[in-house]
């Protein structure tokens, strides 16, 4: 009787864990991941990280079309490395972090391009605006960790980031660089 109940528990556990191994969402390893934005002021590229973000990826290499990923980025964690700059970008003209503390990116599909490379489609929501993006992604698995990295350019004006008075000093195009690490599937 006792033995049978243990067996039953094990059987139940395997029912739960088996599907999980194939289609579970894996939380990102924030310590090994990075998301940064590179803006250009007076032709000078300035790269600064978002220090706080979270998210998860559900990706089966056999079924890329069913891949799903979502990320939440803490806009107030953007760190240019200078208190005055950091205070500036939190203002309503820029990120308006008081009103819009989070930016998010939710994918809706992943298309393989070349081996190890994909194109992710998704929606970037930032400062109350949502824009469809296509993001080139390179995937690499090493030492039990899969990293998805890439760069995508966005228009800061499309998200109403920065008032017009900055237009002749800060370029419209901002490059988002990301390196997202998750435990390798399987």
């Amino acid at each position: 009787m006792h033995f049978r109940s243990i067996t039953a528990v094990l059987a139940l556990a395997s029912l739960i864990s088996v599907p999980a191994a194939f289609a579970a969402e894996r939380a990102i390893d924030a310590a090994k991941s990075s998301i940064s934005a590179e803006f250009t002021q007076m032709s000078v590229p300035v790269n600064a990280p978002f220090k706080k973000f979270s998210g998860g990826i559900d990706f089966d290499p056999a079924k890329p079309a069913e891949a799903r990923a979502h990320f939440d980025i803490d806009t107030a964690s953007f760190d240019i490395g200078d208190d005055d700059y950091n205070a500036e970008v939190r203002k309503p003209e820029w990120f308006d972090t008081a009103k819009f503390p989070k930016a998010s990116f939710v994918t809706s599909g992943l298309k393989p391009t070349t081996p190890g490379n994909f194109e992710a489609s998704g929606k970037l929501s930032l400062k109350g605006k949502t824009i469809e993006l296509k993001v080139p992604v390179t995937a690499k698995t090493e030492g039990g960790l899969t990293t998805y990295s890439g760069t995508v350019s966005i228009s800061r004006k499309a998200f109403a980031i920065g008032s017009a008075s900055w237009d002749d000093t800060v370029e419209d195009t901002v490059k988002i660089r990301f390196r997202i690490a998750v435990p390798a599937a399987g």
Binding site: M42, P45, W166, T169, V170
Partner: protein, 180 residues
């Protein structure tokens, strides 16, 4: 005094052009750091850096010119301490016209801002050091200290030139003037 005791025309041109750029760059530097963050502040920082890099380039040309074109000897009849003071002040000024722009460039690199000369992306200068907040703070102090040293030496340099011109009434300053 005879003409062969004067500085060469390129040496005179470089001296006054650099004097203007250094005084201008120093004034902009003092002014811009106190501004609150604005597009104008970013513009002034860029102009300050471009003028500093120009000074660095001119300093290299000037040192090259000086090494290949001997300067006139000091006018006779001066006490030894004055000759020595002039010699070491000039030497220190030559060191500073290299060290100040270099310290600014290092400070910009350490702060994470590459120097893009004249705002032309193809003229982006290499970063001399990687971004490092503590190093940037230290380099800022070095840049400021070197600048105040230069300001003090330039004051001595100009005061000495005026003393020669107005009190001694000798030809020392005239040798560096364009209108001879």
């Amino acid at each position: 005094m005879s003409d062969n005791k004067a500085y060469t025309r390129p040496a005179i041109a470089l001296h006054w052009l650099m004097a203007l750029m250094i005084i201008g760059g120093f004034a902009v530097g003092l002014y811009m750091t106190g501004l609150r963050l604005s597009p104008d502040k970013l513009k002034l920082y860029s102009w300050h850096k471009w003028s500093g890099i120009t000074v660095l380039a001119l300093a290299l040309i000037r040192i090259g010119w000086r090494l290949s074109h001997p300067v006139p000897a000091p006018l006779p009849g001066q006490p030894l301490w004055q000759l020595r003071a002039a010699h070491y002040t000039h030497l220190a000024l030559y060191v500073l016209i290299l060290a100040i722009p270099l310290s600014g460039w290092l400070y910009s690199s350490a702060s994470g801002y590459p120097v893009v000369y004249l705002g032309i992306k193809a003229l982006r200068l290499p970063d001399l050091v990687a971004k490092d907040k503590e190093l940037a703070t230290a380099l800022k102090q070095v840049h400021e200290l070197l600048n105040w040293t230069m300001a003090a030496l330039v004051t001595v340099h100009a005061a000495a030139a005026l003393k020669h011109h107005l009190i001694d009434r000798d030809g020392t300053l005239r040798r560096m003037l364009p209108s001879r």
